[in-house]
């Protein structure tokens, strides 16, 4: 934060501890505290190792196991060709479309909310947050009765004699992107709103006072300040989309099959566990790549900021 440079120095961390006896006491205390910490951390760590890490690890092993019991990359080769590869590319495409759309819409809404008075901003954020806590299945169902061939929108358009109505808005990519975007939108709005609220409003004002035009201020002052938030929100919603199942499965057609659907089909209908495991690990790998990218951008951004302030 550039603002902290001007902030008063934090108070000194208490009086020094000269006495050796006090040091020893502190060490004993810290050991006690360490034991206490380990004891309390144990349940969750054990739990997650057994029910989270181990299952993923066994998925990894399964994806590498051949029919004859030896090690093989056969399942990965299988996952990366033909119709499986197509599903993978579809997943990447729909995730990109969705995260881009929710980024644009989320940016707009967050920008508008950050200018509102606190009371109104609170009310708007309730409308953003409450849907987030309502089952995605329910919201998807809402979209289905809204967008269906005899759904609310098409019926209204037909009544108004709009040429071309009813439109096909379900069981195609349009439906999937609309539905998934509405699920991802709260994330992007929340992340962007947090960033925008933290922006020092005096900076755009200062730029204006020095004669910068509206567009210049937006491009040169505002955008660089919210850029980290934009990247963060974009990558996060992309990652969350990659493994998303519900909305694409219910609102998409055969051309919108995503990896999660393929995996569940291979497990439930074809008992093709190894192939499903390989697809899952590929998904995991893509997620890690995205998280790594987030981390990298953050480190680079901080380095740039440090250069800028020093």
């Amino acid at each position: 934060m550039a603002g902290t440079v001007l902030a008063p120095a934090p108070p000194a961390p208490g009086p020094g501890t000269p006495a050796a006896s006090q040091g020893r006491l502190r060490r004993v205390l810290s050991e006690r505290r360490t034991r206490f910490g380990l004891l309390n951390a144990a349940p969750v760590v054990v739990y997650l190792l057994v029910l989270f890490v181990y299952p993923i690890f066994s998925t990894l092993l399964l994806s590498l196991k051949g029919a004859d019991g030896g090690w093989t990359l056969h399942w990965y080769a299988n996952a990366l060709q033909g119709s499986n590869l197509k599903v993978l590319l579809t997943t990447l495409r729909i995730s990109a479309e969705t995260s881009l759309l929710s980024l644009v819409i989320g940016f707009m809404l967050a920008a508008a909310v950050s200018r509102l008075k606190p009371l109104w901003a609170g009310l708007v954020m309730i409308i953003v947050i409450v849907p987030h806590f309502i089952s995605a299945l329910v919201r998807t169902y809402g979209w289905i009765i809204l967008l269906g061939e005899h759904g609310v929108i098409n019926n209204a358009l037909t009544d108004l004699d709009v040429p071309g109505a009813p439109f096909q808005m379900l069981y195609n990519e349009l439906g999937v992107v609309i539905g998934t975007t509405s699920v991802m939108l709260p994330y992007t709005v929340l992340l962007l709103y947090a960033v925008m609220k933290g922006i020092d409003r005096r900076l755009p004002a200062a730029a204006a006072s020095m004669g910068a035009g509206r567009l210049t201020i937006f491009r040169r002052v505002y955008l660089p300040m919210v850029a980290p938030g934009l990247v963060n929100a974009g990558i996060l919603s992309f990652i969350l989309c990659l493994g998303y199942y519900l909305t694409p499965a219910l609102m998409g057609g055969p051309k919108q099959t995503m990896v999660a659907s393929l995996i569940s089909e291979q497990v439930m209908k074809q008992s093709q566990w190894n192939g499903a495991a390989a697809l899952g690990i590929i998904l995991l790998f893509l997620t890690f790549a995205g998280l790594l990218l987030l981390r990298l951008i953050k480190v680079v951004g901080e380095a740039a900021k440090n250069r800028g302030t020093s």
Binding site: T34, G37, N40, A41, A42, P43, V44, V45, L48, L51, F52, Y54, P55, S58, I105, M108, L109, A112, G122, V128, V130, H132, F133, I134, S135, A136, L137, V138, R139, Y141, I145, L146, G148, V152, N155, Y187, L190, L191, R201, A205, A208, S209, R214, I217, L236, I239, L240, G243, Y245, L246, V259, A260, S264, G280, L284, T287, L291, L294, R295, K298
Partner: protein, 288 residues
Amino acid sequence: MIALRSTLTGRIVLAVLSTLVLLFLALPIVLIVVTSFGSDAFGSFPPDSWTLSWYEQLFADGSKWPAALSLSALVASLTTVFSLVLGMTAATALVRSKLPLRSAVYGLVLAPLVIPQVVIALGLFLLFEPAAMLGSPIALALGHTVLASPIAVMILMATLQGIDERLEDAAASMGAGRLTVARRITLPLAMPGMIAAAIFSFITSFDEFFISMFLSSVDTTTLPVQMFNVLQFDVDPSVTAVSALLIAIAVVALVLVAVVRRLGGSGKQEGLLPTEPAMGLSAGSEAS
């Protein structure tokens, strides 16, 4: 802004667009609630006439919904207990003690929020299938706890951070043992946070779909799985009624959390809700 007054057109455009976005978020939900009371199932909005028959159908003889509802409630209750225990101990370890590898533990706890659910579900399937535990409420609850516990940990960490540690120290200095301090000082002060954590754990499990689908058997399905199975074939007015019920439960839960937090006097913290998963995600990426 001081020097940067937005133009009138700019403000109008932004207001209209924002209203559209809010409609985009709220419309599907409002539609379900209204349609669930309409006599003609779907398609016309607002409905021509009103009825409660879809709700009556849910509980009619031979309906599959009550069984699914009670399984979901059972699983959600178990999940709540599991994730409260894990959440309270983990939050204590992360906030109130010196923990070696603290950031690793924190990263592990939050990891389930960013790992694709299909991967978690597949892993759990591979774990429980050989044990012949598919469809068992315990297996479902153990699976849901993987997703619910990170949320509980985040809420309870915030709660513990908000409690003045000197109160605990004071009690301890006057001779209270560790258990007494926990029971008489920490627990009462942490109660609003624990209730919030319990409510969010319950809702997380109650609405959870993907892990349930992998861990369900043919004759034991949770409410969301049952809904999905029906929806795959057709839109069904009884699903509208179930959806409206789920909306009502979520809204009631959120109101409850808000009330508890207000009564608990933690009004200092910003916002209506303790933690948003989105915020947790960004925190998770920071901690890893």
